[in-house]
Amino acid sequence: MTLNDPKARILAISSGGGHWIQMLRLRPAFDGCNVTYMTVDPKARHDVGNAGFYSVLDGNRDTKLSLIFMAIKILAVLIWVRPHSVISTGAAPGYFACRFAKLVGARSLFIDSVANAEEMSLSAKLVLSHANKVLSQWPKVSQKNGLEFHGSVL
């Protein structure tokens, strides 16, 4: 990867489990881009072939210290990768990446998990004022919160 690469550089970042599986379903949108993936399970590297990959220790609102480490590592990866765009499917790692994206000149898109069918998730609410775009995967939630709706991973 070089900074002169004509391809768009993307950091695709999410926490584990369903968030990561949703991210994998977005891969066709990254065709022709230089994608670096980041998630909490180091073994998820096997899901993305030869693409760039970083893992970060998992954390949530109940584990404050792990959130601080997570924030630092994500900032370091953003500085190293210098993405044009940050794409996230949640939750805590996506919040930090979208929050810090501007510091490295990147735009950020946060896609709230399809699991949030009635209310936006906490991370989506928190990231609203930082991300360039936040999408919900449910029409009702999009409408209620004034978000664009472009379908879902289902």
Partner: protein, 167 residues
């Protein structure tokens, strides 16, 4: 084989207990459950606290029916493989999750081919009685809706332009 999973984080004893009691009188049905690191050990069904991704994939591939908490990871995997899935939502009032978003999830997934919603233990038991009628459906491609993919592609294209101007 029935494969039950409650995810890797929180226990969901209400689901596992129901399956365990069911299995007590159903000797000819094999059930394997992944009960989470803090789950209460069942007496009659086979179980493990957690599985590696490889073990998980093997169990999912071998099973005829998946029974799961309403976690999107398992639901998406079931749809991709065309395996019938029974989902029972975790409820905050029993301390099974922080909030009731899994109840909202199942309300919105009700009626999709291959997804059988069990609001509680009673509904789970009635679904279990109908197991033989559950059929695999066509496997679906593991990709998002085209319009979501397009929206993301467009966002990426706009971003590349901005960045070049900025540097």
């Amino acid at each position: 084989m029935i494969f039950a999973t409650v995810g890797t984080q929180l226990p969901f004893d209400r689901l596992i207990d129901t399956l365990d009691k069911y299995k007590q009188y159903q000797r000819d049905i094999s059930i394997f459950a992944q009960i989470g690191p803090l789950g209460k050990s069942p007496d009659y069904i086979d179980w493990a606290p957690t599985l590696t991704a490889k073990q998980f994939a093997k169990k999912i591939a071998e099973c005829k029916v998946i029974i799961s908490h309403a976690g999107m990871g398992t639901i998406l995997t079931a749809l991709e493989l065309g395996k019938p899935i029974i989902v029972m939502p975790r409820q905050a009032k029993y301390g099974e999750h922080r909030n009731d978003h899994q109840c909202a999830t199942v309300q919105n997934l009700r009626g999709r081919v291959g997804i059988h919603v069990a609001d509680d233990e009673q509904f789970l038991l009635s679904h279990l009685k109908e197991l033989t009628s559950f059929k695999p459906s066509a496997a679906s491609e593991p990709v998002a809706e085209p319009k979501l993919l397009n929206a993301i592609s467009q966002f990426i294209t706009e971003g590349k332009g901005d960045h070049n101007n900025a540097f």
